[in-house]
C-alpha cells in the first residue's frame, strides 16, 4: 500500500441528497482509513442505504464531495465506482439465478475477446481463483440457482475481490448466514483489512459490530450523529446515538403464568425437511426454536399452518388430534403464522395498513354483503394503539412503512384474529435496534396475556431474550429442549451444530 496510513481511503464530506419531499442525507461526513473496519449504524430510514448508493455511484449527491485517497472524484455509475476501487456488497442478494457463479462474479464486466465474445477460459480461471481464496467448495461453472443461500452470498462477496478494491462496503452481509458461515465471512473481512482495504460494515447486529469494527459512525434521520471508537464505547452509547434515547435490553424475568397445553406435536415428519418432531406449547409461554438456516424450523411452522402436508405424525390442539389441510383450517383452529419474509409472505404491499390487518377476516367483517368499514376501523385503531404502529393514516400503503412498523402490522393482523397459538418466524429480521426491542417486549407481553407463542429465530440473543423454553434444531431434528433457566450459550451452540448428535453416534 503506497498510501500513508493517515490518509483516508475514502472520505465523504457534507453529502446532501434530496428526493422530492424528502431530505434523505443532510450533510453527512464519513471516512474510512485503509485497513480499518468502519461500522455504519442507523435505524432503518436513517439514510444508510442512500449513503451507500451515493458511494456506489448509483445516486449522485446534490451537494458534498467524495474523495478517494484525498482526490475528489465523480462516480456516476456503479462501474465507475468499482473502477475507483469502491465495491458494494448488497444486502439483498443481487445475483442472476440462471447464470453461472463465474458470470455473476464478473457481471457487467465479463472478460471479452473480439466481437464481444465472452472469454470463458479467463472468466472461469479468474473466478475459480477468487472462490478458492474464499475457501469456497464450489466452482465458478455452477449455476447460481443451484447454490445454497450462503454460497450465493459467497458469490456476492467474490465480486468484491475481482478488482483491487480500496473500499469494500458490506450491507447487512450476515442476514442470511449461519454462524459457521459468519466465521468464514469475518475471516475474509479480516483478511481484506490486513491487506489495507478499508471496510464499511453496515449491520443491525451489535455483537458483530463490536467484534469486527474499529470505529462506528451513527446516522439518524439522514444526518451525521457522530463517530465513536469501538474500543472506547459500548452498546448503550451507540444505541442512544442511534435512537436518541436509551433502551432497556433486559429480559423480563417474571415467571410466566402457564395455562394448559394448547398445541402439541407428536412425531411429525415431512422428509427430508424435518423428521420425528415432537414438542408442546402451553398458553402463556414463549417457545423458542433455535437452529441454523435450513434446520427445518420454518418448514415445521408452515406445516402447522397448513401449507405443507406432513408424511406422518400427529398435531393436537387442546388435546384433540386435528387435520390441518390449509391456512384456513389452521386459522379456524386458532393457529396463526407471522412468516419469515415480511414483504413476500406477510404483506400485500400496495394495500393500506387497515386492509392488511383485516385481510384474514375480511369475509366475516361484514354487515350484509358489504365489508363493514366501521368494524374494520375499529380493529385497525385497536391494534394501531396496542402495537404503537406509526402510520400517517389507515389509508397509507404498507409498502412505504419502515420494517418495524410493517412487522407490527403483520403481528396485528394475526392478533386481531384472536389466535390461541401465534407462531412468529424471524420476528426482527431486517428491523432496526429500536423496533427490535419493542417487538421483543411485545412478544413477552403477548405470552403474559395468555397466548401460546412460538418464536423461530437464528439470533441467539433474541431467542435467549424472549423464550421461556428453547428447542434446538439441527438437520430437521430436535436435538434438545432447554428451559430458560438452564440454557447456556455454549450448550445451545453445540446443540444446533449437531455436536451432541455426533457424540451420541
Amino acid at each position: 500500500m503506497t498510501d500513508t496510513p493517515q490518509q483516508p481511503a475514502l472520505r465523504l464530506q457534507g453529502i446532501v441528497k434530496t428526493f422530492p419531499g424528502v431530505r434523505a442525507l443532510d450533510g453527512v461526513d464519513f471516512e474510512v482509513m485503509p485497513g480499518e473496519v468502519h461500522a455504519l449504524l442507523g435505524e432503518n430510514g436513517a439514510g444508510k442505504s442512500t449513503l451507500m448508493k451515493v458511494l456506489a455511484g448509483m445516486y449522485q449527491p446534490d451537494e458534498g464531495q467524495i474523495m478517494i485517497a484525498e482526490r475528489p472524484v465523480r462516480m456516476t455509475t456503479p462501474i465507475e465506482a468499482k473502477a475507483q476501487g469502491v465495491v458494494l456488497i448488497h444486502q439483498e442478494l443481487s445475483l442472476v439465478p440462471e447464470m453461472s457463479a463465474a458470470e455473476n462474479i464478473y457481471l457487467g464486466e465479463l472478460p471479452l475477446k473480439s466481437l464481444g465474445r465472452v472469454d470463458w477460459t479467463t472468466l472461469f480461471d479468474r473466478s475459480n481463483a477468487i472462490l478458492k481464496r474464499l475457501n469456497c467448495k464450489f466452482r465458478g461453472e455452477v449455476t447460481v440457482a443451484n447454490l445454497s443461500i450462503a454460497n450465493q452470498q459467497m458469490v456476492e462477496i467474490a465480486r468484491a475481490l475481482t478488482v483491487d478494491a480500496r473500499v469494500v462496503v458490506f450491507d447487512e452481509p450476515t442476514a442470511s448466514l449461519t454462524d459457521s458461515e459468519k466465521v468464514v465471512l469475518f475471516d475474509i473481512i479480516n483478511d481484506l483489512k490486513a491487506r489495507g482495504v478499508g471496510i464499511v460494515y453496515i449491520s443491525h447486529r451489535m455483537d458483530e459490530i463490536f467484534t469486527l469494527s474499529d470505529r462506528i459512525t451513527v446516522l439518524r434521520d439522514g444526518a451525521y450523529r457522530g463517530t465513536l471508537t469501538t474500543a472506547d464505547t459500548n452498546e448503550d452509547e451507540v444505541t442512544r446515538l442511534m435512537i436518541g434515547r436509551s433502551l432497556d435490553l433486559s429480559r423480563d424475568v417474571n415467571p410466566p403464568k402457564l395455562g394448559d397445553t394448547v398445541l402439541e406435536v407428536r412425531g411429525l415428519s415431512c422428509a427430508p425437511l424435518f423428521e420425528n418432531v415432537s414438542f408442546a406449547v402451553r398458553a402463556g409461554e414463549v417457545l423458542g426454536f433455535y437452529g441454523l438456516v435450513g434446520a427445518g424450523r420454518t418448514e415445521i411452522a408452515e406445516t402447522l399452518f397448513g401449507l405443507r402436508s406432513p408424511d406422518s405424525g400427529e398435531i393436537l390442539v387442546d388435546g384433540a388430534p386435528v387435520q390441518i389441510s390449509s391456512p384456513q383450517s389452521a386459522i379456524s383452529l386458532g393457529i396463526s403464522l407471522v412468516p419469515e419474509n415480511r414483504k413476500e409472505q406477510g404483506l400485500v404491499l400496495q394495500m393500506s395498513c387497515r386492509d392488511n390487518i383485516t385481510l384474514p377476516q375480511v369475509q366475516d367483517l361484514t354487515s350484509g354483503p358489504f365489508v363493514s368499514s366501521g368494524a374494520e376501523m375499529e380493529i385497525y385503531e385497536q391494534y394501531r394503539e396496542k402495537l404503537e404502529i406509526k402510520s400517517p393514516s389507515w389509508r397509507q400503503t404498507v409498502g412505504v412503512l419502515s420494517g418495524g412498523n410493517q412487522q407490527k402490522i403483520v403481528i396485528g393482523k394475526w392478533l386481531s384474529m384472536k389466535p390461541r397459538v401465534l407462531i412468529v418466524d424471524e420476528p426482527t429480521r431486517g428491523i432496526d435496534v429500536g423496533s427490535k426491542s419493542e417487538i421483543h417486549n411485545l412478544l413477552r407481553e403477548l405470552a403474559a396475556q395468555g397466548y401460546a407463542v412460538i418464536v423461530i429465530s437464528s439470533e441467539m440473543p433474541e431467542v435467549l431474550r424472549v423464550s421461556d423454553r428453547i428447542v434446538a434444531m439441527y438437520h430437521g431434528r430436535i436435538m434438545r429442549e432447554f428451559s430458560a433457566d438452564d440454557v447456556t450459550e455454549d450448550s445451545l451452540v453445540q446443540a444446533i451444530s449437531g455436536i451432541r448428535a455426533e457424540n451420541a453416534a
Binding site: 424528502v22 442505504s49 391456512p327 400496495q350 394495500m351 385481510l359 361484514t366
Partner: protein, 322 residues
C-alpha cells in the same frame, strides 16, 4: 431506503381522465355533431359490448392474470344463443348459453387458478381452441334468428327502458354492481390481495385458487351477457364475430390504468377506458378520417395515458433506469 413520495398535482395521477377530457374537447371543436345527446347515447350503446367484457377482464387482471380468450368466447356464446334461439326458444337458449360459457370460464379458472398455469398462454390456447369449437358447432355457417321483430330476445340489444337503450342500462348496472363488489365486498378485497401478492394472500388464509377461479367465472359471465346484447342487436352471428375483441378489451382495461401486474385497478376507470376508445372511433369517423387513423391515435393514447399514470406513481416523468 428512502422512498419517493408520489408527487405532482392530483390531476397528473389521472392520466386517463386528462386524456379523456382533452379528447372530448378536441372532438367537440372539430365536429359539430360530436357533442350531442344522440351521439353520446349511440356511442354508449356501441361501447356496451366491449364494455361489459372489459368489466370481467378488469377483475381478472386485478387478480393478477390475463384473459385473451374472451374474443372467441364471445363468438361461441353469441353463435350458441342465436342458434338455440330458434331451436329451443330464448327462455331456454339463454340459460344454456350462459351455462356453456361459464363452463369455458371454469376451464380457464381450473387451468390457471387450480393448476397455476400461466394465464397468458392458457388463454391464448383457449382463444384458438374455442374458435375451433365454434366452427365445429356451427359447421362454419352463420346463424340467424328468423323472426327478428317478433322475439322478446330483442330487448337486450334493441330495447330501451325510460328512453335509455338496454345495452347502456345493462352496462351501467353491471359496472355499478362490479364496482360495489370490488370496492366494498369481501370478494373484491380478496381479488386485490391475490393480485397484489398471491403468496401473502395464501399466508393470510385467503383461498387463492378459488378466488382466481371465480374471477374467470365472472369474466365468462360478462362474456355471456355481452353475447346476449350482441346476438340481440344483430339478430344473428358469424363464427368469428368476437375476433380481435380480446385486444380491444385489453386495451380498454389498460387505458383505465389497471396494472397488468395485478393488485391495482378500478372498474370505473375501465369504464372510462372503454368510453375513451369508443369516442375515439366515433369522433374520428365523424371527422371523416379514414379508419386507420383510430389505430394511430390509439397507439399514442395508450402509451401516453399509461405513461402519465406510471409517472404520477413514481413521482417523475422518465423512468430512472439507466
Amino acid at each position: 431506503m428512502t422512498r419517493l413520495k408520489a408527487g405532482g398535482p392530483a390531476i397528473a395521477k389521472q392520466g386517463i381522465l386528462v386524456a379523456f377530457i382533452v379528447f372530448m374537447i378536441a372532438f367537440s371543436l372539430m365536429s359539430d355533431r360530436f357533442l350531442s345527446l344522440d351521439n353520446f347515447m349511440s356511442v354508449f350503446r356501441q361501447a356496451a359490448i366491449i364494455g361489459v367484457m372489459a368489466l370481467g377482464v378488469t377483475i381478472v387482471v386485478i387478480g393478477g392474470n390475463l384473459d385473451l380468450s374472451v374474443g372467441s368466447m364471445l363468438s361461441f356464446a353469441t353463435v350458441l344463443v342465436v342458434d338455440l334461439h330458434d331451436k329451443i326458444g330464448p327462455e331456454l337458449a339463454i340459460p344454456v348459453m350462459v351455462l356453456a360459457t361459464l363452463c369455458l370460464g371454469a376451464i380457464n379458472g381450473f387451468l390457471i387458478g387450480i393448476l397455476r398455469l400461466n394465464s397468458l398462454i392458457v388463454t391464448l390456447g383457449m382463444l384458438s381452441a374455442i374458435q375451433g369449437l365454434v366452427l365445429i358447432y356451427s359447421g362454419g355457417q352463420n346463424v340467424d334468428i328468423a323472426d327478428q321483430s317478433g322475439t322478446w330476445f330483442a330487448i337486450f340489444g334493441r330495447g330501451a327502458m325510460f328512453g335509455i337503450a338496454t345495452p347502456i342500462i345493462i352496462f351501467g348496472t353491471m359496472a355499478l354492481v362490479f364496482h360495489i363488489i370490488m370496492t366494498t365486498m369481501p370478494f373484491g378485497r380478496k381479488v386485490y390481495a391475490v393480485g397484489g401478492n398471491p403468496t401473502a394472500s395464501v399466508f393470510s388464509g385467503i383461498p387463492r385458487s378459488r378466488v382466481v377461479f371465480t374471477t374467470y367465472l365472472i369474466s365468462a359471465l360478462c362474456v355471456a351477457v355481452a353475447a346476449m346484447i350482441l346476438g340481440s342487436r344483430v339478430m344473428g352471428s358469424q363464427n368469428n364475430v368476437g375476433q380481435g375483441y380480446e385486444l380491444q378489451v385489453l386495451a380498454a382495461v389498460i387505458l383505465g390504468g389497471t396494472s397488468l401486474l395485478g393488485g391495482a385497478g378500478s372498474i370505473l376507470k375501465t369504464v372510462l377506458g372503454v368510453l375513451m376508445l369508443a369516442f375515439i372511433q366515433n369522433g374520428l369517423i365523424l371527422m371523416g378520417q379514414p379508419y386507420y387513423t383510430q389505430w394511430l391515435v390509439t397507439w399514442v393514447v395508450i402509451i401516453v395515458a399509461v405513461w402519465l399514470d406510471v409517472a404520477a406513481k413514481r413521482g417523475r416523468l422518465f423512468s430512472p433506469i439507466a
